[in-house]
């Protein structure tokens, strides 16, 4: 990989030359970790141009390029990856089929999914359905609030036995179908499994979905197109299975330096082990993770990565690094799954300011707020000051609810 990248990928040749590294200097894993510099999404964006919108990390000859995909762009401007002619086939066989088999998808099923060919994950899903012989049921448009009634109609009319989508969409389907007088269990009657992606799924949220829809299980796909890493969890729900024949992963400190121990939180660094598409070599991601090499309850021996959140959603309070994932776990204990946003956490001293969907407060919002403050102090070492708000005051950007907002003067 290193030799190929040096000879064929302008991005790496230029960076490694600058760092005084040649391909022949890398002979051991230790050489790889110590000498190959990491890079970030911003480094890649700076190299993106009309000549090569991928920034110079595509590992296939230009004439072999067949399609592009974009990232979600939730942390800013989208980046692009280039896909060569055989890359998708290899990815399907060595990654995607494994994923969806774990997540209960089978040939002959009918799956609800809105095709999203702009995103790599969407492309992979489209092709899995084609190759697996799964009928796709789709609503019109895209996964956005105003299309929820259409999704309800599609599920009600065509009765899929599998659902692929985003966590907040599932929450909205439950809410809006109930508001329309259709019990969520009736809406999802016949749906055996769900596979969701895009946001972390807490234990409380999974329980809510299973209890209220009647599905057998909800699988979570986690990862990032940036770095092209990821995987699904299995029935044990103890982290995402990352295929070690596809990805070499490291977990480093929050400043991007020094490897952290197994079971400790840090930032993920990924290296792809296949050619023909984007080739990330020591890409320093923006995801906060924890990795384990212990065999999973399901019997699989590949490593597992638990995803906490994006780095941008983490903050230090009282000397402790916390994420919105930690705050979600506390809120769920008192209110069940709900949408919330943490406001200016870096300025917090004794209490975090948190805006929560007011519908979750019930008739005794004051006592719920007091309970949250108490729970938060006990679990996180910092209290919570709750502001009950209308859902419209919780920012929604690029199809995801924003969970941490800064510089909010209101």
């Amino acid at each position: 990989m290193v030799a190929y990248a040096y000879d064929n990928c302008p991005f790496y040749r230029s960076r490694w030359k600058e760092a005084g590294v040649r391909a022949e200097d890398i002979n051991t894993l230790d050489d790889f970790r110590r000498k190959i510099p990491t890079f970030t999404k911003d480094d890649l964006r700076r190299e993106s141009s009309g000549f090569d919108i991928t920034g110079g990390i595509t590992s296939c000859p230009p004439g072999d390029l067949r399609s592009y995909a974009m990232t979600s762009g939730t942390t800013g401007i989208n980046t692009f990856i280039g896909l060569g002619s055989g890359f998708l086939e290899t990815f399907l066989e060595q990654v995607a089929f494994r994923e969806y088999w774990i997540a209960g998808l089978r040939p002959g099923m009918k799956a609800f999914m809105v095709p999203a060919g702009w995103h790599f994950f969407g492309i992979a899903q489209n092709m899995v359905l084609t190759r697996m012989g799964v009928t796709c049921v789709s609503s019109w448009g895209t996964l956005f609030h105003r299309y929820i009634p259409g999704i309800i109609n599609a599920i009600k009319t065509h009765r899929p036995d599998y659902f692929l989508g985003l966590p907040w969409v599932v929450a909205e389907l439950i809410k809006q179908s109930a508001e329309a007088g259709l019990e969520p269990k009736k809406l999802f009657e016949g749906v055996k499994y769900m596979s969701v992606a895009g946001e972390f799924v807490t234990a409380g949220f999974r329980k809510k979905i299973v209890d209220e829809t009647g599905v057998l299980d909800v699988f979570e796909s986690g990862g990032s197109v940036d770095g092209l890493w990821g995987g699904t969890d299995c029935f044990a729900h103890q982290g995402h299975h990352i295929w070690m024949d596809q990805i070499f992963s490291e977990v480093v400190g929050l400043d991007g330096k020094g490897e952290v121990g197994s079971g400790e939180r840090g930032r993920i660094v990924t290296t792809n082990l296949r050619l023909g598409g984007p080739l990330y070599i020591r890409f320093l991601g923006e995801d906060l993770v924890k990795k384990t090499r212990e065999t999973c309850e399901c019997g699989r021996t590949h490593e597992r990565v638990e995803l906490y959140d994006r780095l941008v959603n983490s903050f230090k309070v009282g000397g402790k690094m916390l994420t919105s994932h930690d705050v979600a776990a506390v809120i769920e204990e008192a209110c069940g799954y709900t949408v919330f946003v943490i406001v200016n956490p870096d300025a917090a001293t004794d209490r975090l300011r948190v805006r929560i969907d007011k519908e979750k407060g019930g008739p005794n919002r004051e006592s719920v707020a007091a309970e949250l403050d108490r729970l938060s102090r006990r679990r996180l070492g910092v209290g919570m000051e709750i502001e009950w708000v209308d859902l419209s005051r919780i920012p929604f950007v690029n199809r995801k609810f924003v969970q941490v907002t800064r510089d909010d003067g209101r």
Partner: protein
Amino acid sequence: MTESEDSPALIVQTEQWEEGDSPYLSLTSRDLSNLADVMADLLASVGVKAKDRVLIYDFNTSISTLAMSRVFTPGLSEGVCERLECIAICTDGLSELAARSAYTFGLWQPEVLLIRSELASPFLAKLQGRSLQEADPNLRTVVAIHNDVVAWPRQIGLGPGRFEKRILCRVDPALFMCLVKPCGGIYYPRGRYRVDLDPESGTRLRVAPAFSPGRGTLVSNLEATAGGKDCGCGEGHEFVTEAPGF
């Protein structure tokens, strides 16, 4: 794992599902392949060729987008991109994503832009005061996508430029797609559809997909007259409609 060409691969809701007579299209792999043939023919007729970059600012669920590539569409093994060897990026069809689409347009400099007609204005607004041609000197062809069930666009507002301009009119329940030239001349792949004027109204196009006979015949909203009219472009047209305002 094998796929049958005759069982539904994709069941997709149409755009006006609430009011429409055919709220869903059930599409076999064969239907999808035929749609790809139609779309390839339409785009080739405006000069789209191998290595061309095609930016699509429309929903993936639009039949014109579904036809474009196997990576966009469950059940499609070869789309337009695979047939013509062009390459496409679809940025989705939300007006809220105009900035992202404009950014991609400016960076990638595609030869071809397929854009929902109502998105032309928000898209142009994000080009920082530049025209389409100024933002992308490579641009050769712009196709504005129009859904037959909405009113005919009198003015799309693409602005000035050297690029070829067309409207692609979609009549979803009949899987019909045609191009309308600036002169009003209608182009569709002959042999793929049976097309005539509705005898009752005398002015609306009646269409049926020859490749999917079970769908029957549909009277569209596309107002047209029989050919022979001098449209001024020098080509003979079987049917002519109101010249669109680009």
